[in-house]
Symmetry: D3
Subunit: 272 residues, 6 copies
């Protein structure tokens, strides 16, 4: 299929690496619905490329990704004449289900180069990666679902308790608290770098990976991934379906949009 | 939320019954995407109504429902400027996921009054009902996925093998064969009536139900449903997600639309 | 442990058979709480006896067992000064959990000689047996939970849909309908005999079993049972816990006792 | 239902908080069977109260709760004329099953304010809470099952390995070792306070919670809890049933009572 | 890999069919260990062939396959100097695990043309097929594990209860009874033919299949198989491992070989 | 059964301890296929001994065990005339399946005294133990599957993510990195000793265990183990089967042997 265009996500293949890059530093790599869809499609592209063994997410600037562009969503929602149900099936359910599924069942080893904070659905994606490298202790993950009138998405209902501990996940999710570098270290984050420049950070990781794989038999890696997926895949598939279907009512009832508007107004006043 | 309108699905509540009626006999109760969405919404309405213990599907005319209106889908698909992915996420993935989930996790006892054949997604819905009453031996279920370039949907990947037998499900699904009354009897169909008129058939069932429940303690029924759902619910939730995500590629690749067109042309020629 | 006494359940061991016999034909083998507990204990006795490979349930008279003696339960409940919660934990939750668990995890092959109808918890026990032999087509199972203000018990939430079909289980449970011999044949009932006398029926089965096992290597049977238990054991364990905990509220709310009283009054009037 | 009375457990509702308080500092908040049952009932009360989103356990004095009052159990056991099986079904199986189930399937966010050590069944309850706040590093959990002739209860067979690590759980359970603050930190314990006075500790947490929830959309919290329960709920339900049924034989064989007596005698000698 | 040779199993590919044929009518298609291994390898060959959508098992003569050649096994066992453990790991565990796994995880639609009876491991293989066509009512399946000092193998611990009913499976397995055509009809057997000649039977099926698939979109079939495998695959994988590991002790203890010898002697005497 | 002989594994029983000792310090306790089989048999011996409650693995010298003796395997493989499939079923599949299963379903508490590094299958065995005591921080685990053209074995596909964290397991397995003492501490390693001499280390642990169990009721320990096995047992059983069957193809394709040869040549050159 022809791929749609995204202005802030690009990719290139340097076998055995399929490198996806977020290139919207000015918006803190905030993504529209179409950006997320494009991301999911790239994963399918990587899936089908036999020369690829590792799919790598890189970003640029200070944020890994600030998550969904809620302004865009709110605007789109208000301009749409669709009934509420259709609107949110299209704008939320289908997108989230598809993107989460693309990650949960991806067949290549998923590596995130976490240059900075990730928020919301983008933070959920970090939770779906197999290996995470962080740049400095300033990185964090944040899931502001409780503050936005939303619920756990992107499989976080299962990835967070399983990867970070049940009680930790409850506390942070319920009260919209940040998962700091200290929380993530040795659980989600595999290694921390201290490199000023994001480009340098990304390059360093790639160099190290190139070094690491020199003597490996790469088909072993893919088959081990298949085995290791027994740990989480089926549960994510199930939770993904529950999450989007149960979040739907929240969107239809309008709470998230009301809260985006409030945030917006507050931000505007602050600026004045 | 305000409910969208459907010209061929109506409902009324006569506690403890929430009665959903298909009222499009001329189109053989073929449903558009919006009709299916409306159906899902009615289930949520029934879920929330404390006076309701049984949700009943009735139809009219000779078919229970001939399934998705593919002409509509094909036309919509061709007129749309959306990229293929967005198009099918909206028109297929979101709809099917939502409707299937509405049935799979419905809290009231689901009864289908099967007045005639059901096809495709509508047949899948019959497979998701708890109790099925049939009118004469002319009823059947048909899942033409293999002929249309589609795959099992509406949870049929699990409801058919579990309810009708593994090997039977394989044979009929692979070769697009009909599940006849004989196949369904005592497995999916609980009782068969022999009543000429569909209205009379529907009324008879309702009368019998009214008789049956006279001495029952209805809260027992809902709690037993909750217990009995252990048998299939979690598996349907998981399969629902797998089914829509794996079918997506078939829609994007275009095979279903190509096959609808062929059918259309053949039908048109037949008419000339 | 010393075994309590039951007037209407006896047992004897004729290796490799552990034979449990219901001996209360006048009460149609209706059981008190203590009778059910005794039954559970006998199963544990059989479990520990290395000479035993088959545990056989026999009855006498016209009924296999008419289930719990509700008059006794109602009387006991009224005379007790215990708070409602303690009363029903003791009289219902603990008993049912224990008996169901004794059957679900029993290590020997469980055979029921179904001489006549079984009702309620006793019918649930038939559902927990591995092999069932029936005498004539007059046998039936009945689970009057919906009529008594109760819910599925004894693992029936899972044994009935899995053994008799999902939709059949729903219909019969929701509307308190009888599972007739025709419903049970080839699903729960392995073979039907046509022998007037119950004693003769029991003896015939035992003779046939003695014949059948002549050339068997009996340790193979126990190990195969262990393997075959993968099919249902874990699910029954889980449902057993859910069933008793969710039924508890129904007992505390008093609906079952109200309905026993009504039945009692009606029966008394009929007799006058 | 009318609630039984407990002298050492009280509660009050300050929406959105349902606050349960242990008020028996002199007995170190040791609980009788009836106290535990009362606790379970309070959870059901909280479940049904739509104004409640968080259920909070507070205690007083130096211990959170020293667990079951074994002296009481032993005395009761000796004075009872019940057969051993009935005695322990009533005094152990039913109680433990009910209390554990009340926590495992509770629909509100469960928060324990751990002012001091918790032992046995009360420690198991801490293991069933979603969020735990501790006062100083003197708190600990202790599960003396191996020393008392008992086995894992209150779902600890699954909550301890899943929350604290498989090998850690084995070591501590097998050898009756204490789970210290260091063991629990960042796994079970979410935050540690250093406040002399328990009342002050409880109040501080409540104030912080009030602060935290100010901007939250509370329905999001309940729905996220429902999603997060996928992590442990079903497994606890199953293990709860296995634990009580397998512990039963230990009670019937008398080892726990023998060991309570020994402890008692030793304690008495120490005092002389 | 180069394929080993089998004198009584051949194959050819006529896309989309991969046809495996048993060609040892004189031995009633009894298989040596190497024959079974060859069969497993053919399945892997079919798995990898993109032109293949259906893998078809055909036989010849009067038996589908009389199962393992026990004479060969016994002779081999006696001549071997291997310690008992190594001997049976090699001759039983590895072979059965491999063959069963090859069938359980096969990606193409598996069709058995059941020309006559199948016994033991070969009957288990029929139980692992997705679709079964039978020739006349003389076909049957037999699993003489209890008579041979063996236990359920080839996934029969789960395929038989799931496909044929729990109680039916228990009865037939425990007492080494035949699963007749009547038992298998509409559960394992999809259609019955009445064709004298086996070659003709095989050809007829192939012709019908060629007819059936004419209008199908074959990739739909493979994807539906993937979905439908949720029903049994994971459970067979788990049971396969339990079955071979638990059967091992029976082989080491020598009961099966003793029983083969007895059978042998009896057969020899009958011939004299 | 008579046990085969192993020159470098011995055992003795000092109830309640079954002590298995690795006694091949010169080969760094590298094991042949037969050594591993012997180890599995010792576990079955311990299983059957009612006086045993703890099965303890001790080693000697500087390594706990350097894993499979690949030189032996390579030599054996080259000298064998068996077809590739038979060769690897015998030399790899059967052995690994058996040994892993012996550990996964062992009924006694498994304790490893980790005197030094463990590699490959021997490291997997450490991952299958319930409790691990380490000597100094020089111990480590290493799983060089990706470097040897192999895949996760010995249940590591599930034990490593569940015990050490999902992302940690991915990183270390994919890139053949060492699990250091710091990685293992408080997750796999329960306690670290600092004792020069391995014999002294082993003796100290045994003394401590003797001290610890003095006041325990040992049947409680076995029953708690049975309960705690719910956490991992079933998943290991399933993964064990998947691991060996999927690794098989790698052996048949010859990559592992090619890589052993390379290692061998490199080692030889280094020595020259």
């Amino acid at each position: 299929m022809e791929l749609p265009h995204s202005n802030i996500i690009s990719y290139h293949v340097t076998s055995p690496f399929f490198i996806i890059k977020f290139t919207g530093p000015r918006s803190l790599n905030s993504f529209t619905k179409d950006d997320y869809l494009y991301l999911g499609q790239l994963l399918h592209l990587a899936d089908k490329d036999d020369s690829v063994y590792f799919t790598i997410l890189q970003s640029c600037g200070t944020f890994f990704s600030s998550g969904a562009n809620f302004q865009g969503i709110a605007k789109q929602a208000k301009n749409s004449n669709d009934p509420e149900l259709s609107k949110w099936l299209k704008n939320f359910v289908a997108t989230n289900l598809y993107v989460t599924d693309s990650f949960a069942r991806h067949s290549k080893v998923l590596i995130a180069c976490l240059n900075g904070p990730a928020i919301g659905m983008s933070a959920a994606i970090v939770g779906l990666c197999d290996i995470v490298y962080a740049n400095t202790e300033k990185v964090y993950l944040r899931f502001p679902f409780a503050s936005l009138g939303l619920i756990t998405e992107g499989g976080t209902s299962i990835t967070l308790p399983k990867k970070l501990g049940n009680n930790i996940a409850y506390q942070k999710l319920m009260f919209n608290e940040i998962f700091t570098h200290a929380d993530l270290k040795d659980k989600v984050i595999n290694k921390t770098y201290y490199i000023e420049d994001t480009e340098e950070f990304n390059k360093t990781i790639l160099n190290e990976l190139n070094e690491k794989i020199k003597t490996l038999y790469l088909p072993s890696c893919l088959k081990m991934k298949k085995m290791l997926q027994s740990n989480l895949k089926d549960e994510i598939v199930k939770l993904n379906s529950l999450e989007v279907n149960d979040a739907l009512q929240f969107w239809i009832d309008g709470e998230p949009i009301r809260r985006f508007d409030q945030l917006e107004n507050r931000n505007r006043k602050v600026k004045l």
